[in-house]
């Protein structure tokens, strides 16, 4: 049988103000009927450009060469009318963030019905019945009620299911998945993947699954292609590619994937307590005249961090882990008590602020775009009794050249920006650094470098870390103890080594089960 999708020697350039920029270089791929091809690559490798090229949604400055065929039909020469019949009908698309791919002002049911009327030529009543059946197919409870809701009244997982239901209802030949679970929680994402597995077994649809997550792709795909800067460097069965990678880039990627069994920290911290938090409750809004108070983000959370310890906090989004970080840095009002080195912290004073530093998730947002790196770093130095002349030393500590001092943040890569943010925290010579999802926005190979840097800094300064993350595999590699948070409560705190033991809390077990199995 011939391939569903053929990409032959496809090259894509973007015309920019600085000349041509190559996004894809002589890419050749094919997807057989019923096959799922995983496309793996880091940001900027061109994986989304390929998806846009296949759906013919390229910007006007794109220049192409090579062939794109759906079955026997040439996609590149298709007219707008033909494309209208192909998109949605023969090629389905599932995007990363369901809250932006659904129109917030139209009821969920209407959005499904519209697609069915358009692509399956049904009248309104038939489409409505078909939509309800489609939503039942994706295992949504009470589809009729869901159809009357607006997107903001549904959870992220429900929304992504609605998108998937719409796609499958049109019975396409090929589905493009562009990071469909990245915006979702681990457990929700794992359920979506299971659902996709079942739907696929029933319908035999072919799919192109784009992701940066190697562990995930190895579970979903029949075959995998690794993309590096627009070039397919390796293709094959996932198990082979990941166990015995042939290309050096694949080896780097595979090596950077966190494996919980492989500990990066071997020492045990001393038993002296650095910081004790007692019944910390964070509440964002007060009770208003006609509105009851919203539930607290965290309920009376207790924990303690030892000197030089790496203390991990894991949980899904909305579990209150970031609120905890904000309380500890004085960014959110809270009730409860904090003791640092045996001293009760009544108000956030300068010695406390110096001792407890925070690094945020998005380096783009945490560095002022209008300040040079030197200015960004000299602020904490001056504030905490240092000298701006130390900027080169601070930069060197995070392995950045001193010449970066005169650059603006946007001139740096994501990993370099995060290093600057780490340097800013360490400029204060802190005893505790709160790392709030600091690697979530980074590629896996960059993440490995940042973690390595953090561990080296800890060896040099004996700093403790409060490491907040949703990535269980990563935190199990480095943390001494791990606290699991659910709905504002710490359900348990365990040594990292026996997190997976059978007597763990059911929620911990669920989180572990949903974390993508490490490769190899």
């Amino acid at each position: 049988m011939s391939a569903v999708l053929t990409v032959e020697n496809y090259t894509l350039d973007y015309r920019t103000g600085w000349g041509l920029r190559r996004a894809l270089d002589a890419v050749s791929l094919s997807i057989a009927p019923g096959e799922v091809l995983g496309l793996v690559g880091e940001s900027g490798s061109g994986k989304s450009s390929l998806a846009w090229a296949i759906t013919r949604s390229l910007p006007t400055n794109a220049m192409e060469a090579g062939a794109l065929r759906l079955g026997a039909e040439d996609l590149r020469t298709a007219s707008p009318q033909q494309l209208g019949a192909i998109r949605g009908r023969r090629i389905g698309m599932v995007f990363q963030d369901p809250s932006t791919s659904l129109n917030p002002t139209i009821r969920l049911g209407e959005q499904v019905i519209e697609v069915l009327m358009r692509h399956r030529g049904l009248d309104r009543t038939a489409a409505s019945a078909a939509a309800e059946a489609a939503l039942a197919d994706v295992e949504l409870r009470d589809p009729a009620a869901l159809m009357r809701r607006f997107p903001h009244e549904a959870s992220g997982g429900e929304k992504q299911r609605v998108v998937i239901a719409t796609v499958f209802a049109c019975d396409p030949e090929l589905i493009l998945f562009d990071e469909p679970t990245t915006a979702l929680d681990v457990i929700t994402g794992a359920r979506i993947l299971d659902l996709f597995g079942r739907l696929r077994a029933r319908t035999g649809v072919a799919a192109l699954y784009i992701s940066h997550d190697l562990g995930l792709v190895s579970r979903v795909a029949d075959r995998v292609a690794v993309l590096e800067r627009g070039v397919v460097v390796e293709q094959g069965v996932p198990a082979d590619v990941f166990r015995t990678p042939a290309h050096s880039y694949t080896r780097v990627l595979v090596a950077a994937v966190p494996r919980p069994g492989h500990r990066l920290v071997e020492d045990t911290p001393p038993a002296t307590t650095l910081l004790t938090a007692t019944s910390i409750s964070v509440r964002y809004a007060r009770k208003r005249l006609f509105r009851p108070a919203p539930p607290a983000a965290t309920h009376a959370v207790d924990f303690d961090i030892r000197r030089g310890e790496i203390f991990g906090i894991v949980g899904e989004s909305g579990s209150g882990k970031s609120s905890l970080a904000r309380a500890l840095t004085g960014l959110a009002p809270f009730t409860g008590a904090i003791d640092l080195d045996g001293r009760r912290i009544a108000a956030m004073d300068r010695p406390y602020r110096r001792a407890v530093q925070i690094v945020f998730q998005h380096p783009d947002a945490s560095l002022n775009p209008r300040m040079r790196i030197a200015d960004i770093l000299s602020r904490p130095l001056r504030l905490y009794g240092g000298d701006s002349a130390e900027v080169p030393r601070v930069l060197e500590e995070v392995r950045l050249p001193a010449s970066y001092a005169s650059k603006f943040p946007h001139q740096l890569s994501g990993g370099e920006k995060q290093r600057v943010a780490i340097a800013r925290a360490f400029a204060a010579k802190p005893a505790l650094v709160i790392c709030d999802e600091i690697t979530a926005a980074l590629d896996v190979s960059v993440q490995a470098q940042v973690i390595e840097l953090l561990l080296a800094l800890r060896r040099a300064h004996g700093t403790a870390y409060l490491f907040i993350t949703h990535d269980l595999n990563l935190v199990r590699q480095i943390a001494h103890r791990i606290a699991v948070m659910q709905e504002g409560v710490i359900v348990e705190t365990r040594d990292a080594a026996d997190l997976a033991s059978p007597d763990a809390h059911p929620y911990t077990a669920a989180l572990l089960a949903a974390s993508p199995a490490p490769i190899g």
Binding site: L331, Q357, I358, S366, P369, M371, L383, F408, H410, R424
Partner: protein, 277 residues
């Protein structure tokens, strides 16, 4: 830095055209009266309503005064004052708006509701009120216009500053215990400047017209001054009889306004460090 800024401004097309137009306007402000071909206040009864021609390039007005000469002389009393009024209003509004967004909560509520109360009074009425209590004269008019502009600028700035306030670099500054004045002036204000600059340049044109209105009502520039807005106001009665009298100053105001707008667009791009041109 400022040298760099000018170079970047020059490299944008809008910035270049805007700079040229405003450069000419600046020359007019500096040397206009010396360059004027005739005495702007010389009355010539034989030449009343003379159409544009060799004798009066842009025609003559209802008193036979040379329109071109009046235009060249009037630049000095029009553009600098309008600019001053707008800059004062912008600065006050930008600081109030950013401060309000930074403080948040009840302070924000209190500041913005007061601003709303002031905005409920039409700008012209407010300016009139202020001028009549401060006394007639061009400088007082400028001050009145500045105060009338402040609430609007504060609102524009606040909305931009609110999104900046939510950025992590502001949180990082709060977490490391920076003073409020540092956060407002150094962390937030440079990041709200883009939309504020554009708004400012649009308002310069409004300021010129507001001046004209005040002058027309006898509270700004006084006749026989050749302030452009006053010229438009005086020529209004003769718009059918001698359209050139009103067209010349109106077009001058328009060109100045476009010049400021273009410069604003250019500045917005030049002020953005991400723009690498």
């Amino acid at each position: 830095m400022s040298d760099n800024l000018l170079r970047r401004l020059w490299r944008t097309k809008q910035g270049r055209i805007g700079a040229i137009v405003l450069g000419l306007a600046a020359l007019l402000c500096l040397f206009g009266p010396n360059l004027a071909p005739q005495n702007p206040e010389a009355i010539d009864f034989l030449g009343r309503f003379r159409p544009p021609g060799a004798q009066n390039w842009l025609g003559a007005d209802q008193l036979g005064r040379d329109v071109l000469s009046r235009l060249m002389t009037g630049a000095r009393s029009t553009i600098p004052l309008a600019l001053l009024a707008t800059l004062l209003g912008t600065l006050a509004g930008a600081v109030i708006g950013t401060l309000s967004a930074y403080l948040g909560g009840r302070w924000d509520e209190a500041i913005m509701r007061s601003i709303d109360a002031v905005m409920a009074v039409p700008g012209l009425l407010l300016a009139l009120l202020l001028v009549s209590s401060l006394g007639k004269g061009s400088l007082n008019a400028a001050l009145a216009i500045a105060i009338a502009f402040t609430p609007g600028m504060a609102r524009v700035t606040r909305s931009v500053a609110l999104s900046v306030r939510a950025q992590d670099y502001v949180k990082a500054a709060i977490a490391r215990g920076e003073r409020g004045s540092f956060i407002v002036l150094r962390e937030m204000l440079p990041n709200v400047i883009g939309p504020v600059v554009v708004e400012t340049t649009i308002r310069v044109a409004f300021a010129v017209m507001l001046f004209a209105t005040l002058s027309f009502l006898g509270l700004g520039a006084q006749p026989p001054a050749s302030e452009w807005g006053l010229m438009v106001a005086e020529a209004r009665r003769f718009v059918h009889q001698a359209p050139w009298i009103i067209l010349a100053p109106a077009i001058a105001i328009g060109i100045t306004a476009i010049g400021f707008n273009l410069l604003g667009d250019g500045l917005r791009d030049a002020l953005n460090p991400r723009d690498e041109r």
